[in-house]
């Protein structure tokens, strides 16, 4: 076997603290190494050409590149060796950047470690075998989880691209947080006027199947062939029959039901359509407050419904959908401000959240768009907005900036002046973060044209005095304490990961950060991909985002799905487990430990044997460490290959390593 070794400088990233020439010179002495050199940027075009030329010139059988992490450039180099006529698995990478040069400053020690890593890679390579991926068909249907604006955009783009789309929404209507907003910044567009047509498109598009009131129970399979179990929660209404006429809402006697769509401002009926533009426009019954379902009598809706659509006996239903890709667009939830005792911890009726205020501003909201205090229905004179409630505050475990609160607070201050010209708004802020197009101009308008008083500082306390509230805080620009008597206090609550986000991530086998936001594959270069092939992200489930960013990501995720589905077949990863039938004793331990159900028992000439289902195996290697016989081996990571690496490492001079 003839191996070529290429040691990358990565500019000064590696060469700054690793003597790359020495590494190459030492590599030359290693067993099977026929050629070794250092190269400025191995990943660059001249770098790759150098590798290809060396393969041809020296008749190399395999290549080691000592450079960065394989997560960065393994696919690059595999393609390069393939271009030179080698099998792509006759390639190994030694990570001497993230694992060496970036983490240590001692050039001598770094160089020694780099030599060790190269010798391990060469030793493994000398035992590598050519592997050939198999091809499999893909199911060109896509599931979008979450019907907010990001999910809607992704669904429409995929459907317009000719794909069959399954859109799954947890609540009884699509629209998400955007459908609750009155206006949008910085243009003061009416939110439901710009979102409404898109929602209607979803319901009318021939390629889109919409499941509202539905949640994902489980996901199995792999890119191109996922199977998703869905739970369609009972609405106690036959949606085929329901026409959305709303007669039931008029007659329902249980009128004190928590109004989720209106964020608890005002109440609704037990049977309800959440808002006039809801899609699907179908009624559902809230089982907790329905008199028939809790006490067994009533049934007024059943008597009144012109299409006899009420089904008190209806139960949840499981649906199974097969798709080739999944876009996760599950959005965000709001920080629970009651954790701030100094803002009253939820005890004060006129201290409300920004989204509740949005419902007060909205013409379709519980007050018909008139700003009224929840406590006594009076128009407020002084309104205090407090920013960063659950953002940039380590003491409540939310150190991150939610990004959009500065903007929506400015918008709400502007709208307040439009609704109540005599009112005065105050905004307590830490910093104003308005880096979008036309954003900073917008916050300036709130201050300059709409005379909103911006106070830089935090609020230390809110307390009721008479029928008003004293808001006490610091003005850090003046260096003084301030007290404002407010009629209404609006808390700009920050964004946090949607409830249940980690549980869904585990079903989809995607990663999430310590706050529950989903992890993209690369923060800059792969922002809508996950590390699970075929699963993409869109919108605020990945981190707080405003509407334009969410829509952009929805379209981006759709583009990724369309490009994935532009092929009819995908290649499977050959780095999966393989059973040596002669050594297998049929004990079945691997079947028990496999987390993916990828191993089955087969009958081989009357004897039980294990068999790996290639399309299901994820190559995790748990079975290989379980097998008492060493009969099941993970291809490209066989026991022999790993032991070769260990031997290479342990054969280094003891003096050199332990001096």
């Amino acid at each position: 076997m003839k191996i070529g070794v290429f040691v990358c400088h990565c500019g000064s990233n590696i060469a700054g603290t690793v003597d790359v020439a020495t590494v190459a010179a030492e590599a030359q002495k290693m067993p099977d190494v026929a050629f070794a050199s250092d190269t400025m940027y191995a990943c660059s075009e001249p770098g790759q050409e150098g590798i290809i030329e060396a393969i041809k010139e020296h008749g190399l059988d395999g290549v080691v590149v000592a450079s960065c992490t394989p997560r960065m450039h393994e696919p690059t180099f595999r393609k390069a060796v393939e271009r030179a006529g080698l099998n792509r698995y006759m390639f190994e990478m030694a990570n001497i950047r993230e694992h060496v040069s970036w983490i240590g400053k001692d050039t001598e020690a770094n160089t020694r470690k780099a030599i060790d890593l190269v010798s391990m890679a060469a030793a493994k390579l000398s035992r590598n075998k050519s592997l050939t991926p198999k091809k499999f068909d893909i199911n060109k249907r896509v599931m979008i989880i979450g019907g907010g604006v990001a999910g809607i955009q992704a669904a429409l783009d995929c459907a317009d691209g000719g794909l069959e789309v399954v859109l799954v929404e947890k609540t009884s209507s699509i629209g998400g947080k955007m459908s609750k907003l009155d206006k949008t910044f910085p243009t003061i567009d009416c939110s439901s006027c710009i979102l409404g047509p898109k929602m209607v498109d979803i319901s009318q598009h021939p390629n889109i199947t919409l499941y509202a009131s539905t949640e994902v129970i489980g996901v199995t399979g792999y890119v191109g062939n996922f199977t998703v179990d869905l739970n369609r929660k009972t609405s106690y209404v036959d949606w085929e029959a329901c026409t959305g006429c709303g007669l039931c809402m008029e007659k329902c006697p249980s009128k004190k039901t928590h109004d989720t769509f209106n964020e608890g401002v005002g109440t609704t009926t037990a049977i309800n359509i959440p808002f006039p533009q809801a899609i699907p426009k179908k009624a559902s019954i809230n089982a907790d407050s329905c008199i028939k379902l809790t006490k067994g009598k009533c049934g007024v809706c059943e008597k009144i419904c012109p299409t006899q659509a009420i089904r008190f006996e209806q139960t949840d239903e499981t649906v199974v959908e097969s798709v080739g890709a999944v876009v996760v667009a599950t959005g965000y939830d709001l920080f629970d401000y009651t954790r701030y005792g100094e803002y009253g911890g939820g005890r004060y009726t006129d201290v409300i959240t920004s989204l509740q205020y949005e419902r007060l501003l909205s013409a379709s909201g519980p007050t018909g768009g008139h700003i009224k205090r929840p406590s006594d229905g009076k128009e407020p004179q002084n309104i205090v907005f407090i920013q960063c409630v659950g953002s940039r505050d380590k003491s409540v475990g939310r150190p991150y900036c939610s990004g959009f609160c500065c903007m929506y607070t400015a918008k709400q201050a502007i709208l307040t002046k439009d609704h109540l010209p005599e009112s005065q708004s105050y905004v307590f802020y830490m910093d104003i973060r308005a880096p979008g197009k036309q954003y900073d101009e917008f916050t300036r308008r709130a201050m300059e044209e709409y005379e909103t008083k911006y106070v830089r500082g935090r609020v230390s306390m809110i307390y009721p005095k008479g029928d008003r509230y004293v808001v006490r805080g610091a003005d850090t620009l003046m260096g003084s304490a301030v007290e404002i008597e407010a009629d209404l206090v609006v808390l700009a609550v920050g964004a946090e990961a949607a409830q249940g986000a980690p549980q869904l991530a585990e079903k989809l086998r995607i990663s999430y950060d310590s706050f529950g936001f989903y992890m993209e594959s690369h923060p800059k270069l792969r922002p809508v991909e996950t590390n699970t092939a075929g699963v993409y992200l869109a919108g605020a489930c990945q981190g707080p985002k405003d509407i334009p960013s969410s829509v952009g990501q929805g379209s981006a995720a759709a583009a990724k799905v369309l490009s994935l589905f532009s092929k009819d077949q995908l290649e499977s990863d050959p780095q999966i487990s393989e059973v040596d039938i002669k050594r297998c004793i049929g004990c079945g331990k691997c079947i028990e430990t496999c987390p993916f159900g990828a191993i089955e028992e087969i009958d081989f000439r009357g004897q039980p044997k294990a068999n790996v289902i290639e399309t299901i195996c994820q190559g995790c290697g748990i079975c290989t460490s379980t097998c008492p016989q060493g009969a099941i081996q993970l291809q490209h990571f066989t026991d022999n290959q790993i032991l070769a690496e260990v031997n290479a490492l342990c054969q280094q001079s003891m003096q050199q390593n332990y001096e």
Partner: protein, 296 residues
């Protein structure tokens, strides 16, 4: 018995707040809490000590903890929030071995630092409980509307004090409710009264304590009830000064919560020393009687 505790009265307990100390001892006796005075206790250093030197300040309280460790008790308790802060802070800081060693060099011996340190309020609320106290009430305070005022340091900093809610404490509210009193929602429960600035910056105390009295009036309280000698002094002794500074006409009695528990348990003046209060308590009790009359 409901426990035996090393008792730290604090310096003010011997002087300005003798009625707090006396009523605390009386109700503890009645409720079966045995108090053993810490032998040869010394001043905790109050506010001045920790503004000068943390090690010396902690050594003052560590000495009291050391003295208490010679007793067979369940813990150390004190009525005064300021003493409590100093004791708890010393104990907390001494969890760091290097700091503890520095403190111990100033003392006669090693501190075990094992005894739990609590306020009398915490023991009454958590160990005895409002329900058990309610059972012993013979003269309920029905009709008496109280503004509960905890002061700024009874519950803060929360990591060290580790008792009740630091923004909205309820222990005293619940105890007063157990006595039959009507507890007003008092939003400035943990607000600063101005503390010892009464000497150096009287104007500040006039403003801060004045605001507390204004709000107590706003929530229609007949009296305020407090757990801190300094708060009580600022609100009660300086009420006349506050009135003249703000052209106000407050006549708001300010009780120690222990006095009101004692009264509801039927104790006499010799245990409660209500006559030590500057604004006469009769002002509140008359209003209480009016409420009772109009209710009946």
């Amino acid at each position: 018995m409901s426990g035996t505790y090393a008792y730290y009265p604090g310096c003010s307990g011997l002087g300005t707040s003798v009625e707090y100390d006396l009523s605390t001892r009386a109700i503890c006796r009645e409720l079966g809490i045995e108090l053993v005075d810490i032998p040869d206790w010394s001043c905790c250093g109050s506010t001045p000590a920790h503004t000068v030197d943390h090690t010396l300040s902690c050594a003052l309280s560590a000495r009291n903890i050391f003295q208490a460790e010679s007793l067979d008790v369940d813990g150390i308790i004190t009525p005064c929030p300021s003493c409590l802060t100093n004791l708890k802070t010393a104990s907390h800081r001494m969890q760091n071995d290097a700091f503890k060693a520095r403190v111990e060099r100033l003392l006669d011996g090693p501190v075990e630092n094992r005894l739990p340190i609590m306020s009398v309020l915490q023991v009454l609320f958590e160990t005895i409980g409002p329900a058990a106290i309610a059972e012993k009430v013979t003269e309920p305070l029905t009709g008496l509307r109280l503004a509960p005022y905890y002061g700024c340091i009874m519950n803060r900093p929360p990591e060290i004090m580790d008792f009740d809610d630091c923004e909205n404490p309820v222990a005293m509210d619940e105890l007063m409710t157990a006595l039959g009193a009507d507890v007003a929602p008092f939003p400035l429960k943990v607000e600063c009264c101005g503390a010892s600035f009464g000497v150096a910056r009287k104007d500040m105390v006039m403003k801060l304590s004045g605001r507390l009295l204004d709000l107590a009036e706003d929530v229609s309280a007949h009296a305020m009830v407090t757990a801190c000698p300094l708060c009580q002094m600022n609100l009660d002794l300086r009420q006349k000064q506050i009135n003249s500074a703000h052209k106000a006409k407050h006549r708001m009695p300010v009780f120690y919560y222990t006095q009101l528990i004692g009264k509801a348990l039927g104790m006499g003046e010799e245990s409660l020393m209500l006559d030590k209060l500057i604004v006469p308590p009769s002002v509140a009790f008359r209003k209480m009687d009016e409420v009772r009359r109009s209710a009946s």
